[in-house]
C-alpha cells in the first residue's frame, strides 16, 4: 500500500490542470483574474467544497455518500426554522443545523456498518428520506424572514473577506489535519485500502466508517447553513444534485473510488476547478447546455487520469 506516491501524480495533475485553465480564462476574459471575481469564486465554491471534504473521507474508506444534497436541504430547513429574528440566540440554529446533519450522517453510518448494506443503497435511501424531511418541516415552502445575525454567516465579511471563505479555510485545515496527521486519518486509508487487513491489524473498522459518515453529514449540515444564510431563506428543494458535484470534486482531486487514496488538497483543487469553470463559462456567456457538456468531460477526463495512474502503480 503506497497511498502517498499514488497521490502525487493525481495531485500534480490536478494542480497543473487548474493552473492551466486559470491562465486560459484570464486571457479569454479580462474580468476573470480580478480580486473581486476571485472573491466571488471562492464564496461560490465554499458550499461544494464542504460537501466534497466530507465525501472525501467517505470515499477514502471505500464508501460513497449520495445523500449529501438532501441532508444539506434538511439541515438548512432545520436551521432556518430556528433562525427567525428575536427567537433564539444564533448558536441554536447553527447547532441544530450541524446537529441534524451529524444525525443523518450517523444514520448512514449505522446502517452501513450494522446492517452490512452497500453504502450506495443506504445513502440513496437517506437521500429520499432527508428530502422528505425537508419538505415536511417546511411544508413545501421556502422558510424566510431570518435574523440578520444568521444571514451574516453567508453574506457578511470579516476583515474584508466574505465569511463563507473563512469557513472554507478553517474547515479545510481541520479536515486536512484530521486526514493526514492523526491516527484516525491513517485508519481511514487502511480501511479503504484493504478492509480485511485493517481488521486483522486490530482497527475497529465499524468505528472508522461510523466516524466518516457522521463527519460527512455534519459537513453537509454546515454547508446547509451556509447556503440557507447566503440566500436568506431555507429552501426545501435546495441542493438537488449537489452530491454529484461534491463527488466529482473529490475524484478530480485524485481520490480513488476504489478507496485507500486521496487527500484534501486535491479535493480543494477539484472543487476550485469546478467553480472556476462554471464562473468562467458564465463570464463568457457560454450556453448552459454546453456548460453541462464541458463539466461532464472534465469529470470523465479526471477519472481516466485516475485509472491511468492506478494502472501504472
Amino acid at each position: 500500500m503506497k497511498p502517498k506516491s499514488a497521490n502525487y501524480i493525481g495531485q500534480y495533475g490536478i494542480a497543473i490542470a487548474f493552473a492551466g485553465i486559470c491562465v486560459v480564462l484570464a486571457f479569454l476574459h479580462p474580468a476573470f483574474l480580478t480580486l473581486s471575481n476571485i472573491r466571488v469564486i471562492l464564496t461560490q465554491v465554499s458550499i461544494n467544497a464542504l460537501l466534497a471534504f466530507g465525501v472525501t473521507f467517505v470515499i477514502i474508506t471505500g464508501g460513497i455518500d449520495l445523500s449529501l444534497g438532501s441532508v444539506l436541504a434538511a439541515a438548512g430547513i432545520v436551521a432556518a426554522l430556528l433562525a427567525h429574528p428575536g427567537e433564539y440566540p444564533l448558536v441554536v440554529p447553527i447547532a441544530a443545523g450541524i446537529g441534524s446533519g451529524l444525525l443523518m450522517g450517523a444514520f448512514n453510518g449505522l446502517i452501513v456498518t450494522r446492517c452490512k448494506v452497500p453504502p450506495f443503497i443506504v445513502t440513496l435511501g437517506t437521500m429520499t428520506i432527508a428530502r422528505g424531511l425537508a419538505l415536511i418541516l417546511s411544508k413545501g415552502r421556502p422558510v424566510s424572514n431570518l435574523s440578520d445575525s444568521f444571514n451574516f454567516i453567508g453574506g457578511g465579511t470579516f476583515a474584508g473577506i466574505p465569511f463563507p471563505i473563512l469557513v472554507l479555510l478553517v474547515t479545510f485545515l481541520g479536515c486536512a489535519l484530521l486526514l493526514s496527521k492523526t491516527t484516525w486519518g491513517r485508519y481511514m486509508y487502511a480501511v479503504g485500502g484493504n478492509e480485511l487487513a485493517a481488521r486483522a491489524s486490530g482497527i475497529d473498522v465499524g468505528k472508522v466508517k461510523m466516524m466518516v459518515y457522521t463527519i460527512c453529514g455534519g459537513l453537509a449540515g454546515m454547508a446547509g447553513i451556509l447556503l440557507t444564510s447566503r440566500i436568506t431563506t431555507g429552501q426545501p428543494n435546495a441542493g438537488m444534485g449537489f452530491e454529484l458535484d461534491a463527488i466529482a470534486a473529490a475524484i478530480i482531486g485524485g481520490t480513488s473510488t476504489a478507496g485507500g487514496t486521496g487527500n484534501m488538497v486535491g479535493t480543494l483543487l477539484g472543487a476550485l476547478l469546478i467553480g472556476v469553470i462554471s464562473n468562467g463559462l458564465d463570464l463568457m456567456n457560454v450556453s448552459s447546455y454546453y456548460q453541462l457538456v464541458v463539466k461532464g468531460f472534465i469529470i470523465v477526463a479526471a477519472v481516466v487520469l485516475d485509472s491511468f495512474n492506478k494502472n501504472r502503480h
Binding site: V40, R141, I231, A238, S288
Partner: protein
C-alpha cells in the same frame, strides 16, 4: 400463512370501508399535480382542496413528482376508482396526453389546470405564460424608456413555462431594438444558482447591466440578493414572475421592482368549479384564462 394474510385482509377491509364511506358523500374529484415540491403548485392544490370542501366534494390529491409516466398511472388508478372528474396539472405537453385521453375514453371529464397537453381536455383553466413574459419585458422597456442592456435568466431549459416566458419576452425585445439582450443563461428556477449566476454576470458586465428579467421569483430573489451585495441594486431593475409571498414582500420593500402575479388561488378554485359543472353536465367554457397582473408595490 394466516399470519401473513390477516393483516393484508384487515388493511384492505379498512381501505375499502374508508373509500366506501367517503364515496357516499358528494362527488369525488381525482387531482394529479405536477409537483408538490413547488410552492406555486402547492398553492393551487391547497385552493382546490379548500374549494372542493366548501362545495361538499371530496378530492384525492396526488403528487406526480414531475414524472409524466407516474401521472398517467395515477389517472389510471383514478379511472379504476371511478372518480366523477379529474383535475390534471400536466407534467409535460406530450407525455401527459395519454392521461387525458384515457380519462375521456372512460367517460370521466378532465380539467387541465395551469399547463396544457396536446390532447384536448374537457376544459382548460390557467394563464398564458407567453403573456407573462410580455408583461415583464414591457415593464422593463417602460422603466428603461426603451433603451438599455437586459439580462435574462431562464428556468429549466425545455419546460413549457421556460419556453413560453422566453417567447413572450423575446417578442417585446424584437419590437424594441433599443433594448439589448446582453446575455441569457439558465438559473434552473433555483435561488442559489441564480445568485451565483448574477454574481458572475456582475463580474462580467458590471455597471453595463440595466435590467434583469428572471423567469420565476425564486431566481429573481437570488438576483436581487447578489445585486444588493454588490451595491448595484439601485441601478438595476429586476422583474420576475409568480408573485410568491417572498417576492411580494420584496416588492413592498422595494428590492424587487416588480413581479407578475399568476393567480394560483383563482386557478385552483376555477378548476374545481369547472369540474363540478362538468359532473353536473352543465355548459362550461373550453378555456378559462385567468389574467396575469403586474405587481409593482
Amino acid at each position: 400463512m394466516y399470519k401473513r394474510i390477516l393483516p393484508i385482509a384487515l388493511l384492505s377491509a379498512a381501505i375499502w370501508s374508508c373509500s366506501g364511506s367517503e364515496k357516499a358523500g358528494g362527488p369525488v374529484i381525482g387531482v394529479s399535480m405536477l409537483s408538490l415540491q413547488n410552492e406555486f403548485v402547492v398553492n393551487v392544490a391547497d385552493e382546490i382542496e379548500k374549494k372542493a370542501g366548501e362545495a361538499g366534494a371530496r378530492v384525492i390529491i396526488v403528487d406526480a413528482e414531475r414524472s409524466a409516466l407516474k401521472q398517467v398511472e395515477q389517472v389510471e388508478s383514478f379511472i379504476a376508482q371511478k372518480v366523477d372528474a379529474i383535475i390534471l396539472n400536466p407534467c409535460e405537453v406530450e407525455a401527459s396526453s395519454p392521461a387525458v385521453e384515457k380519462a375521456k375514453a372512460a367517460g370521466i371529464p378532465v380539467v387541465n389546470v395551469n399547463s396544457e397537453t396536446n390532447a384536448v381536455p374537457s376544459a382548460f383553466v390557467g394563464s398564458d405564460d407567453v403573456e407573462a413574459g410580455r408583461i415583464a419585458m414591457r415593464y422593463i422597456n417602460e422603466q428603461l424608456k426603451g433603451k438599455g442592456n437586459v439580462l435574462m435568466m431562464h428556468g429549466y431549459m425545455g419546460q413549457a413555462a421556460q419556453i413560453q416566458r422566453d417567447k413572450g419576452a423575446k417578442e417585446i425585445l424584437a419590437q424594441n431594438p433599443g433594448l439589448k439582450l446582453l446575455a441569457e443563461q439558465s438559473g434552473q428556477w433555483d435561488r442559489s444558482k441564480a445568485m451565483s449566476l448574477t454574481e458572475n454576470w456582475i463580474q462580467s458586465y458590471g455597471p453595463q447591466i440595466n435590467a434583469i428579467f428572471a423567469q420565476n421569483d425564486e431566481m429573481g430573489m437570488g438576483a436581487v440578493k447578489a445585486l444588493t451585495e454588490a451595491g448595484l441594486k439601485d441601478k438595476v431593475i429586476v422583474v420576475s414572475i409568480d408573485a410568491i409571498p417572498d417576492a411580494l414582500a420584496a416588492v413592498k420593500k422595494g428590492t424587487l421592482n416588480a413581479t407578475v402575479f399568476q393567480n394560483a388561488a383563482e386557478q385552483g378554485s376555477k378548476a374545481v368549479e369547472t369540474a363540478l359543472k362538468l359532473i353536473k353536465k352543465e355548459e362550461v367554457e373550453e378555456k378559462v384564462i385567468i389574467p396575469f397582473k403586474l405587481v409593482t408595490e
